[in-house]
């Protein structure tokens, strides 16, 4: 071992023999190709960006970031919102919603409804062309309808269309549907059917069609390229029937991680994304953000709630449910989980929409009242262990929710903590979605669940509250049953008179607020952020993206020029 002392010192490992070349080559490469930080696109930091409106001009690209990648661009086959987002720019329905939530025409110019409400005759726009030049006709509508009710089509959205008794093509631009019974959501449901090109799909299996990845539509944009896992590139359709969209390109970029997406936003890699509550409140208030971006905030058409299994002995008693309602501080949840970006919910409708009833019973945070109600219902802590009990049973239950949703996870945690304070022990279990639905919700093997519903723009919620919808896999999984509510639900969907419908839905909300089969928690706000150079954005109750084809970037501010 002593011979080691005589060795020349090998200071750098890389100076030896064969490694030397590799080392220097690497070094050379690194130096030669050193980054100038300028290579990475930095957001333009010009003053007055948000002030100058400028004239509408054609050009530029809008890059939106998304966490989930669209799966398939045929709307009836897709279950995810990303697919619907993109497909919405490529396809149109017969009707759509205006900013005041009234129904206006899309592919249908006008329509007639028979006095008994059972027949709708759509008069379709003329001269609309598919992206491949073929003219759009009523046959396409018929094709779409037939496809969606076809047994072989794996779609989840066929229910509304099965109410149709008869569908007819009267001529090239007239389409008529006849319903079995009056069906209030009928008209709007035709906004949900994206019209498909019959001439391309006739006789083919829709699931095997290439159209899912290479859609042919007649909407404002068409798909140019789809780099799987990375991005979708859409070009504007110059002959769109509502006018050529100002923004030439729309790019939907997939970044599976919200934090990374946020960094890309700042680096100029994307122009638009949905912010998380934290990002909205804490990270976008700097001078940089205020100069270069515009933030929006509006309530979404969805609400989060905790639902009780009404067959469970604990929850059969209304007082128990109400007690839990008093024990939860909704404002705390909105503050902590949503950073204030939401509103406490009192029922299954979004505040400030026409079906919403503002005068129902409210449950302000009142733990004393909660304890008192529980005592009335027989719950007291007789053995001093901090947990209420009755007849020897401790008040313990499990809240189930789905994995991967931070907002829900945090909401459940807060509920757990608050209920602990009044002596109820709660366990939280987050389950993988399909196990959740299949094993627990469908089989009604749960005590309480924390979930959300997205509300359609039509107030009909028959499927959720009607006492007949309690079979396995149906949506009244809490086994709620109230004859008056049943009657009101029927009334609401079978009349077309808005005032009549309003009365029915108002009364339903009163009843639900009293009986509290759900604890209605909150309606979250959507908080998108868009680069300041995009003008023409008009926030409305239905969001901001409804008029995307009308957004523009003034000439001076245009940034991306992509060669055709």
């Amino acid at each position: 071992m002593s011979s080691f002392g005589k060795m020349p010192s090998f200071s750098l490992p890389f100076t030896m023999g064969k490694y030397r070349t590799v080392f220097f080559l690497a070094l050379f490469l690194i130096i030669a190709l050193s980054p100038s930080c300028k290579d990475r696109p930095k957001a333009v930091n010009s003053t007055g960006l948000e002030n100058s409106t400028g004239e509408p001009a054609y050009g530029d690209s809008l890059i939106e970031g998304t966490i989930g990648e669209p799966s398939i661009l045929i709307p009836m086959l897709a279950g995810d919102s990303a697919s619907h987002s993109v497909a919405g720019l490529i396809f149109n329905g017969l009707v759509k919603y205006d900013t005041d939530l009234s129904v206006i025409g899309d592919l249908a110019e006008s329509w007639d409804i028979s006095p008994d409400g059972l027949v709708i005759t759509f008069h379709l726009r003329k001269g609309v062309k598919w992206a491949d030049g073929v003219e759009f006709t009523a046959d396409d509508v018929m094709f779409g309808y037939k496809t969606i009710i076809d047994e072989k089509t794996p779609t989840a959205y066929s229910e509304d269309f099965r109410q149709v008794k008869k569908a007819e093509v009267l001529d090239r631009h007239t389409f008529r549907v006849t319903y079995e019974k009056p069906f209030a959501p009928a008209l709007t449901s035709w906004g949900n059917l994206a019209i498909l090109p019959g001439h391309l799909l006739e006789g083919k299996d829709i699931t095997k069609s290439d159209l899912g990845r290479n859609p042919v539509g007649m909407g404002p944009y068409r798909l140019r390229k789809w780099a799987a896992g990375q991005e979708l590139v859409l070009d504007s359709y110059h002959d769109y029937f509502e006018g050529r969209p100002y923004i030439d390109h729309y790019i939907y970029r997939v970044i599976p991680d919200s934090a990374t997406m946020f960094l890309e936003l700042q680096a100029g890699g994307i122009d638009m994304m949905g912010l998380t509550p934290i990002q909205y409140t804490k990270q976008t208030n700097t001078v940089f953000f205020r100069k270069n971006f515009q933030k929006f905030r509006y309530p979404t058409f969805a609400y989060t709630h905790m639902a009780f299994n009404l067959r469970h002995p604990f929850f059969k008693d209304k007082r128990v449910r109400q007690a839990i309602g008093y024990a939860i501080d909704k404002s705390e949840i909105v503050d902590v989980v949503l950073f204030g970006l939401g509103t406490p919910a009192t029922g299954p409708y979004v505040p400030n929409t026409w079906p919403y009833n503002p005068d129902v019973k409210k449950y302000e945070y009142n733990p004393e009242k909660a304890k008192q109600l529980l005592k009335e219902a027989g719950w007291e802590d007789t053995d001093g262990d901090g947990i209420l009990d009755k007849d020897g049973n401790p008040f313990k239950f499990t809240i189930l929710t789905n994995m991967g949703n931070t907002l829900r996870k945090n909401t459940a945690t807060i509920i757990q903590w608050r209920l602990e304070k009044i002596g109820i022990k709660v366990d939280i279990r987050a389950l993988e979605w399909s196990a959740f639905i299949n094993n627990f919700i469908d089989k009604k093997r749960f005590e309480a669940v924390l979930l959300g519903w997205s509300i359609g723009l039509d107030p009909d919620q028959y499927d959720i509250w009607h006492s007949s919808k309690t079979k396995e896999k149906e949506f009244n999984f809490i086994s709620y049953s109230n004859p008056e509510v049943d009657e009101l639900l029927e009334k609401g969907r079978r009349t077309f008179d808005i005032e009549e419908r309003k009365k029915a839905y108002f009364r339903i909300q009163e009843i639900l607020a009293d009986e509290l089969p759900y604890i209605f928690l909150y309606v979250p706000d959507a908080t998108p952020i868009v680069h300041a150079r995009f003008k023409g954005i008009k926030p409305s109750p239905i969001g901001i993206s409804y008029n995307l084809p009308k957004w523009y970037v003034p000439e001076k501010l245009q940034r991306h020029r992509m060669e055709p």
Binding site: P41, G79, I437
Partner: protein, 332 residues
């Protein structure tokens, strides 16, 4: 030698079968059916609609039949279609012939791991050798400590720290994806640098653990070899130290390393799940994670099997390498 190869390949077959059995078994441990994701909690879906979907996916046949059918297709590398709503063939999502080679998921993961292995090899070996030859000096102590820390360091933590340092605070390196937004508009040199800079952090994180392990192993191997008689003989013969170390000691110590590299393949592939996730790299690991999250039946089985095949190949190559490096085995 060819006989040896053939024998090894044949031996792989029952192993492969076993792997498919295990994957299949695992998937069926799950409660619920894979079509549940499609039929999310959407009030518009009726039970009849769901049943229709299940029939379409052939889930109503008995398990053994399902396995048999699946196996038949596997042999042709047909893993069926992904259960996610895009319904593309599984193989296509892993290895899309329509994409440029550089963009295919399997390729990306493969290249990243290959790069990591190369770096591990190039860096760990010199470190190992020099620590062995400089045993107990400060250098040795530092590297040994470094190695221990490397072993204990959770790779995802390292990734986070580096991301924070280089990505957020210093803003020097990109922290997600494989290329920038404006890649297509860059010059050739710009593109090379772009890709390189995106690779720096992920590859570093990926190789870190393996580096520690391998350099330590190299060191202990060298130490053992140096004590051998033939080294003393070489020295006694008056050979320069360089030659002693490199010609004699090193090559003998190297042999087990090759096998070790081969054995590190499953670790690398498994690790790719984590760091592809963190760095937003569209490789096979990220796809696996997403399919686990969405219960994508066929996709998971496909990737699991492919991962296992890659591992077996890695072992095979390691064996080959060993055979080539060790003349004793060759002449058997």
């Amino acid at each position: 030698m060819v006989l040896y190869l053939a024998k090894r390949l044949l031996e792989m077959i029952p192993t492969l079968l076993g792997i498919t059995l295990i994957s299949f078994f695992i998937i069926h441990l799950a409660p619920g059916k894979p079509t549940d994701i499609l039929t999310e909690l959407n009030p518009k879906i009726t039970p009849e609609a769901r049943e229709r979907l299940e029939k379409i996916y052939g889930l109503d046949k008995p398990v053994i039949v399902q396995y048999g059918l699946w196996l038949k297709r596997i042999v042709r590398l047909d893993f069926g279609e992904s259960f996610s709503t895009d319904r593309r063939p599984v193989m296509e999502k892993i290895w899309d012939r329509k994409q440029p080679l550089l963009d295919r998921r399997l390729f990306i993961t493969f290249m990243l791991n290959l790069l990591s292995m190369v770096i591990i090899f190039l860096v760990a070996i010199p470190i190992g050798i020099t620590s062995a030859t400089h045993q107990n000096t400060l250098y040795d102590r530092i590297t040994t400590t470094g190695v221990f820390i490397g072993f204990a360091m959770p790779s995802f933590w390292l990734a986070l720290l580096l991301m924070m340092l280089f990505g957020v605070y210093l803003d020097l390196l990109p922290i997600s994806g494989l290329k920038s937004m404006n890649y297509d508009s860059l010059s050739v040199a710009g593109r090379i640098w772009d890709r390189l800079s995106h690779l720096i952090l992920p590859v570093f994180v990926s190789s870190f653990g393996g580096l520690a392990g391998l350099s330590r192993y190299m060191r202990s191997n060298m130490l053992e070899v140096i004590r051998q008689d033939y080294v003393t003989v070489a020295r006694a013969k008056g050979l320069p130290e360089n030659e002693v170390i490199y010609r004699h000691a090193f090559r003998n110590a190297l042999l087990p390393i090759i096998t070790l590299l081969g054995l590190s393949v499953p670790g690398l592939i498994g690790g790719s799940v984590i760091f592809e996730n963190i760095f937003g790299i569209p490789g096979m690991g990220q796809l696996f994670y997403m399919s686990v999250m969405t219960r994508d039946y066929t996709m998971i089985m496909g990737i699991l099997t492919i991962g296992a095949i890659l591992t077996l190949l890695g072992n095979l190559l390691a064996d080959l390498g060993y055979m080539l490096a060790d003349p004793r085995i060759r002449t058997k």
